[in-house]
C-alpha cells in the first residue's frame, strides 16, 4: 500500500522533531561542556541521565511529587554525583589518550547501570503525569513533549546565562579554549573541571527528569543519548556551545523526518550518515566560527 506524504504530515514531522531536538540540545550541552573543557567523552553521560529519571520516578512514586518540580532536586543530586566521579576517577585521565577516558567512563557507566539494575530491577517503569495533546490546525502537539521542550529551552537558556554572564562561566569558556593559557591567567583549572563535570552531569540529570514523563524508565535507557549527544556536538562544532543548541534542533528534525519518510528503525542510520558526512565535509561543525 503506497503511503502518501502530505504537507501537514511533513509539518508534523518537523514540529515533532523540533520538540525532541530541544531536549537533545540540552542533554548534549552537558556532554559538550565536559568534552570542551577536558577533552573527555563521557560515555557515562547516558547513565547519569538514567539516574535523573529514577530520581524523578521515585519522588513521583513515593511522594507524589510533580515530575516537573523534581528538576530542582535531580540537578543538584546529579551535580554532586558528577563531582564525586570527577574527583575520584575522571581527573586521572584528563590529559591521557582518548582510549583511557573512553574506557574509564564506559566502565563507570556499566558499573552504575548494573547497580541500578540490582537495586531497582530492570522492569520498565513510567511516570504517568501529563497525557494527551493539543490540536493546532492539522498538527497534534503532545502536551508532555511541549512542556518538556519549554523547560529544556529555559534550562539551556540559564546554562548560557551562566556561561556568558558569570565569572565561572567565563573561566569555563577560557579553559575550554586554551587550558594552559587559562591556568597561566590564574584560573584553577582543576576546580573548573570539577564544576564543569558537575554541570554536565546536572544537565544530564535534568534531561533524565524530562525524559521520564515521555518514555519508559529502565537501567539501560541512557545508552542512546550518548551517541546522539556526540552527534549534536559534531553538528555544532566542538567547543562551540551555541552551535550545540542548533545541532540538537537539527538532529531532532532530521530524525523526525527520517522516521516519517523512511522508517523509525532507519532514522538512526540516517543520523549516522549525517555524522560521517559532517565530519568529512566540515569537521569544524556546521557553524564555523562562534555565533
Amino acid at each position: 500500500m503506497p503511503i502518501y506524504i502530505t504537507g501537514p504530515m511533513l509539518l508534523q514531522g518537523v514540529v515533532s522533531g523540533l520538540l525532541a531536538g530541544g531536549l537533545y540540545a540540552m542533554v548534549a550541552l552537558g556532554l559538550a561542556l565536559v568534552f570542551g573543557v577536558m577533552r573527555v567523552i563521557n560515555l557515562a553521560h547516558g547513565t547519569l541521565l538514567m539516574l535523573g529519571s529514577y530520581t524523578t520516578y521515585w519522588l513521583f512514586a513515593l511522594y507524589g511529587m510533580n515530575p516537573f518540580l523534581s528538576l530542582f532536586l535531580s540537578f543538584p543530586i546529579l551535580f554532586v554525583v558528577g563531582g564525586v566521579l570527577q574527583k575520584v576517577f575522571v581527573h586521572r585521565v584528563v590529559n591521557a589518550p582518548e582510549l583511557s577516558s573512553l574506557l574509564l567512563t564506559f566502565g563507570i557507566s556499566i558499573l552504575i547501570a548494573n547497580l541500578a539494575m540490582l537495586g531497582w530491577t530492570s522492569d520498565y517503569r513510567s511516570v504517568e503525569f501529563l497525557t494527551g495533546s493539543f490540536l493546532l490546525g492539522p498538527i497534534a502537539l503532545s502536551k508532555p513533549r511541549l512542556v518538556t521542550f519549554g523547560l529544556a529551552l529555559a534550562i539551556t537558556g540559564l546554562a548560557f546565562l551562566l556561561l556568558n554572564k558569570t565569572k565561572i562561566g567565563k573561566a569555563i569558556r577560557a579553559t575550554s579554549q586554551q587550558r594552559d593559557v587559562a591556568q597561566v591567567c590564574g584560573i584553577n583549572v582543576r576546580r573548573i573541571d570539577l564544576i564543569t563535570f558537575g554541570l554536565g552531569a546536572g544537565l544530564a540529570g535534568v534531561g533524565g527528569s524530562l525524559v521520564s514523563v515521555m518514555f519508559s524508565i529502565f537501567p539501560e535507557m541512557g545508552q542512546v543519548y550518548v551517541f546522539k549527544s556526540f552527534l549534536v556536538i559534531v553538528l555544532g562544532g566542538a567547543g562551540n556551545y551555541p552551535g550545540a543548541f542548533f545541532g540538537g534542533l537539527i538532529l531532532g528534525v532530521v530524525e523526525g523526518l527520517a522516521s516519517l519518510l523512511l522508517s523509525a528503525q532507519l532514522s538512526e542510520v540516517i543520523a549516522y550518515m549525517l555524522l560521517v558526512i559532517v565530519l568529512l565535509v566540515r569537521p569544524t561543525g556546521l557553524f564555523r566560527g562562534r555565533i
Binding site: L102, L118, F230, L275
Partner: protein, 306 residues
C-alpha cells in the same frame, strides 16, 4: 633465548593440537572461546595497538562475518568452512567503506564514528528481515562435532598472532608505530599514512570476520542483539590492554587470563557480573594502562617484538 622461545611455542602448539583427544568437551568449548578472544583482541591490536586509532566498534566486523557465514550456509548452501572464511571478505569490505573516509578523523572522532558504525550495522541487520531474519535472527543446524570448529578457531587465532609478529618485525609495522607516536612527523618523513592506516584497518577487520563466521556455525543461532554488543568490543579492548597493547604476546596473554578469570570468578556472581567487569575496566585503565607485557618489557628490557 631464541631457540628456547621457539621450542616453548611449538610445544604449546603441539599440546593444543592433540588436546581435544584427551579432554572433556567442556574444556574444548572453553578453549574455543579463548581462541576466539585471542583472534578478536589480536585483531583490535593491529589497528588500535599499532596506529593508536581507537576502534570502538570492532564487533561490527565480527557480526558482519557471522551474518555473512550464516546467510551463505542457509541460503546458498555453502559448507561452513568456506562460508566462515567468506566472513573476512565482507568484514574487510565494510572496513574499506568506513575506513576510507573515517580514518582521516583524529582522536575521539574516529572512536565515536566506529561506535556509531556498530549501531548502524545492527539497525541495518534488523531492518533487512528477508535476508537476516530481523530481530529473531538466523538458526543453523546444530553442529555434530566440536573438533573441526576447535581447529578452525585455533587456526584463526594462530593466523592473527603470526600476522602480528610478521607486521611488528617489518617496515610496515615500524611505519604504523610511527603513526601512533606522531602522525604529522611520520607524514613529513614521507610515510603514506592514509594508505598504511587503511591497510592495517583492513587486516584488523578480516580476523574478526572469520572468527564471527566460525562463531555463527558453532553457536548455530545468531540474532542482532547478541551479535553486536558494545560489550564485546570493550572486552576485546580490555583483554588487549590488560596483556599489553602494541605487543605480539599481549593480546594472547590478556585474552587467556581474562577468559580463565571470567570462567572461574565471574560465573559465580551472575548478578553483579557486569558490575565486576565495570570495576575491572576502571582498574585496568587507572592502574596498569601499559599491560602485563608493557610492564615486563620495561622492567626486564625485553625486545619490542614479543
Amino acid at each position: 633465548m631464541k631457540p628456547l622461545a621457539w621450542g616453548i611455542g611449538l610445544g604449546i602448539l603441539a599440546g593444543l593440537a592433540i588436546m581435544p583427544f584427551f579432554v572433556t568437551s567442556y574444556i574444548v568449548t572453553f578453549t574455543i572461546q579463548i581462541f576466539m578472544w585471542i583472534a578478536l583482541a589480536g585483531s583490535w591490536n593491529l589497528i588500535s595497538g599499532f596506529t593508536g586509532y581507537v576502534s570502538f566498534g570492532h564487533v561490527a566486523f565480527f557480526g558482519t562475518g557471522a551474518y555473512t557465514a550464516a546467510i551463505l550456509i542457509l541460503k546458498a548452501g555453502w559448507p561452513w568452512f568456506p562460508a566462515g572464511l567468506a566472513g573476512s571478505v565482507t568484514a574487510a569490505a565494510l572496513a574499506l567503506i568506513i575506513g576510507y573516509p573515517c580514518l582521516r578523523l583524529r582522536g575521539p572522532y574516529f572512536a565515536i564514528a566506529m561506535l556509531g558504525l556498530n549501531e548502524v550495522v545492527r539497525a541495518l541487520v534488523s531492518y533487512f528481515e528477508d535476508l537476516t531474519g530481523g530481530g529473531s535472527g538466523i538458526s543453523l543446524p546444530p553442529i555434530l562435532s566440536l573438533q573441526p570448529v576447535y581447529y578452525a578457531m585455533g587456526g584463526v587465532a594462530l593466523a592473527v598472532f603470526s600476522l602480528t609478529y610478521l607486521i611488528i618485525t617489518s617496515r610496515f609495522g615500524l611505519r604504523l608505530l610511527s603513526i601512533r607516536e606522531d602522525e604529522l612527523a611520520a607524514e613529513v618523513m614521507g610515510i603514506p599514512t592514509a594508505r598504511l592506516k587503511l591497510y592495517a584497518f583492513l587486516l584488523s577487520a578480516a580476523g574478526p570476520g572469520i572468527a564471527g563466521g566460525f562463531y555463527a556455525w558453532y553457536a548455530s543461532h545468531i540474532e542482532p542483539l547478541g551479535t553486536f554488543p558494545l560489550l564485546t568490543t570493550i572486552t576485546m579492548i580490555i583483554m588487549c590492554l590488560f596483556g599489553g597493547k602494541g605487543t605480539v604476546l599481549g593480546p594472547v596473554v590478556g585474552a587467556s587470563l581474562l577468559s580463565i578469570f571470567q570462567e572461574l570468578v565471574w560465573a559465580r556472581f551472575l548478578f553483579v557480573h557486569q558490575a565486576i567487569f565495570g570495576a575491572l575496566i576502571v582498574g585496568v585503565v587507572l592502574l596498569m594502562p601499559k599491560g602485563i607485557l608493557g610492564v615486563l618489557q620495561e622492567r626486564y628490557r625485553l625486545p619490542r617484538t614479543i
